[in-house]
């Protein structure tokens, strides 16, 4: 008898999951997933992008998951408020807070919203979706907490440059370099949003990993906001003044070898590029 009751529960739970996803804490894209313009951690005028930037002017923006509105900053702010209009923050029961920055709130927004319930319209500029892990005091990459985008084309590797002093050379197969410390610049890590988002960039020299950048979460430190890679790394460590990803102090000893760049994207796929170099 007990067994039959348990069997009865299975279709009931499946029914709940199918028709009432919000009730079981389902997480949804707050905007169309193809509207992503800039990923988490991208360079934004000298700062890390703290979330996913979307471009979808006038489109409805919805709640990532069910939660409670805890902050609204809009044109009705009392005089003397700290600037920052168009911000809605939700608190979720699983220890996360989600922020929707740059949106026009719907007038009849209620304080308790379900996942997928619309919050407002995207403003005329990009709007930014952020997720904060309150317990751990970190801003996390939303892409890791959203339904996966397996249909996105894989990442592509842009131009890679070798730099020392005033010398700046495009990397190519069979290139000859002098031994010593080099700066390796990786261009166009982030595409225009038409491809999957890279979440880890690694550099290998003769099979040994010599550098790795992972964009999982950022936190406060004495030096400001740092990316946890997992060691804290500042913006200046990851990006050069032009906003390009760079690996500094890459030591190349004399000899022949292969330099390999690997990009792991949001779906777990790895794309790599390699170049045979002669260092002497």
């Amino acid at each position: 008898m007990k067994m039959s009751c348990r069997i009865c529960l299975v279709p009931f739970i499946l029914l709940q999951l199918t028709f009432f996803p919000a009730a079981v804490g389902a997480r949804e894209w707050p905007d169309k997933s193809v509207n992503v313009q800039e990923p988490f951690g991208a360079a934004q005028s000298g700062h890390f992008n703290r979330g996913l930037s979307f471009s979808s002017e006038g489109q409805r923006i919805s709640a990532w998951s069910s939660g409670e509105v805890i902050w609204i900053a809009d044109t009705g702010n009392p005089p003397g408020s700290v600037p920052g209009e168009g911000l809605i923050v939700l608190e979720h029961s699983d220890g996360f807070r989600s922020s929707y920055r740059g949106i026009e709130r719907r007038p009849d927004l209620k304080y308790h919203v379900s996942g997928g319930e619309w919050l407002g319209y995207a403003g005329n500029d990009v709007w930014i979706f952020e997720i904060t892990d309150v317990e751990r005091s970190r801003i996390v990459d939303p892409i890791s907490l959203l339904p996966s985008r397996n249909d996105m084309p894989p990442v592509s590797i842009g131009q890679v440059e070798m730099m020392r002093g005033s010398d700046r050379l495009d990397i190519r197969d069979g290139m000859q370099l002098t031994p010593g410390r080099w700066i390796i610049i990786v261009n166009e890590v982030y595409s225009d949003g038409s491809r999957a988002i890279p979440v880890e960039i690694s550099l290998f020299w003769v099979g040994e990993r010599i550098g790795s950048l992972r964009f999982d979460a950022m936190a406060e430190s004495d030096e400001g906001i740092v990316m946890e890679i997992p060691d804290p790394r500042s913006y200046d460590f990851i990006y050069n003044p032009d906003g390009q990803v760079w690996f500094r102090d890459v030591l190349l000893n004399a000899g022949k070898g292969t330099l390999e760049l690997r990009l792991r994207d949001e779906t777990g796929r790895v794309v790599s590029g390699s170049w045979s170099l002669s260092v002497r």
């Binding site: 700062h47 703290r50 700290v82 922020s99 930014i128």
Partner: protein, 349 residues
């Protein structure tokens, strides 16, 4: 015996009359309309003469008036902050820090929002969580902070800056960038800071924090640092910035409540309510004979209310719907609208 009874009853009646019935003091508060000035953006200094200037701002416009409340200059920008001694305008090339006469003090290559608080200048970039304090006399960056949480409260007095954050933290920072206080009130289901103010000498901090319950907290500086000295539940659950401030020489704290204003008298920690229609959008204190002026905004109305030193209503009236704020200048109240500046003179006769 009968005469004595009549005398005693008469004495009682006189005492009752003397102590209970109000008497004219012979001094009355007179409010006289003084002038009305049109606020037209000039974008440059016009008719500037050396002398005292008073900063005015209305929405996305700001500028200066002279001693006679005549408009000297008026600027328009979405990112602007103004003080009696400077104006900060954010543009494409960065932030221009200007003298009241329009002369450039400094150009700062930053497109953040400028914020003015009691003579202090801050730059806040909300999408990056970056807060800078700027020396308004030179444009020098005094300190820089980066936060993972939105800044919800910012106040500055006596070389101290109060920062409140949506994650429930409060910081007090001195002009060298040293953290004087790191505090999290706690005690609510949702931790967040919704309102905060520093007293004029920087030794007291009033806060509105949390949801369910939303709480008022007063911190006071003692020998061994800041300590919470009073708190109570506000019976509100605002999910936006809550106006709060010290008034009457720091003897009273005002904050917005649901449909009224709560006044906390620090002498004895007496809490009282002041009726005010709509949301609290501004106040003026000590204009004349310890009066307090409150500005409230309802959907289609702006209400001004003048209170006596005992918080009794002296005057209540509607103001034009485009009224955005109210300022004090000596014994004048400047009512700022989106297009006009109205000046009221207060006197006692």
């Amino acid at each position: 015996m009968k005469q004595r009874g009549v005398f005693l009853i008469g004495l009682i009646l006189i005492s009752v009359y003397y102590f209970l019935f109000p008497r004219g003091s012979g001094r009355e508060l007179i409010i006289t309309p003084d002038s009305l000035t049109s606020l037209e953006p000039t974008e440059s200094s016009t008719g500037f003469l050396p002398g005292r200037t008073l900063a005015i701002s209305s929405g996305s416009r700001a500028g200066f008036v002279n001693d006679d409340h005549e408009l000297i200059s008026f600027y328009s920008s979405d990112k602007m902050a103004v003080d009696d001694h400077w104006l900060a305008v954010s543009g494409v090339g960065g932030l221009d820090l200007l003298e009241p006469d329009g002369r450039l003090i400094a150009r700062i290559p930053d497109s953040s929002f400028p914020v003015s608080r009691n003579g202090n200048l801050y730059l806040y970039r909300d999408d990056a969580g970056v807060l800078l304090k700027i020396d308004p006399t030179s444009g020098r960056i005094m300190w820089r902070m980066e936060y993972i949480s939105p800044v919800t409260v910012l106040d500055g007095r006596q070389g101290r800056t109060l920062v409140g954050l949506l994650d429930g933290r409060v910081q007090l920072i001195d002009d060298s960038g040293k953290l004087l206080l790191g505090y999290s009130p706690g005690g609510s289901r949702v931790e967040a800071i919704y309102g905060g103010a520093l007293s004029s000498n920087g030794s007291k901090i009033a806060l509105i924090s949390g949801l369910e319950p939303q709480r008022f907290i007063l911190l006071e500086e003692r020998k061994n640092g800041f300590r919470p000295v009073a708190h109570h539940n506000t019976k509100t659950n605002f999910r936006r910035s809550v106006p709060i401030g010290f008034v009457r020489d720091d003897r009273q704290i005002l904050y917005e409540s649901d449909g009224f204003v709560t006044a906390v008298n620090l002498n004895g920690y007496v809490i009282q309510t002041i009726e005010l229609s709509g949301r609290l959008v501004g106040w003026l204190d000590n204009l004349m004979t310890d009066t307090l002026i409150l500005l409230g905004r309802e959907k289609d109305d702006v209400i001004v209310k003048i209170l006596s030193r005992h918080d009794l209503t002296l005057f209540e009236s509607r103001l034009p719907i485009d009224t955005t704020g109210i300022l004090r200048d000596r014994n004048y109240a400047l009512v700022i609208g989106s297009d006009n500046l109205g000046v009221l003179e207060f006197s006692v006769q």
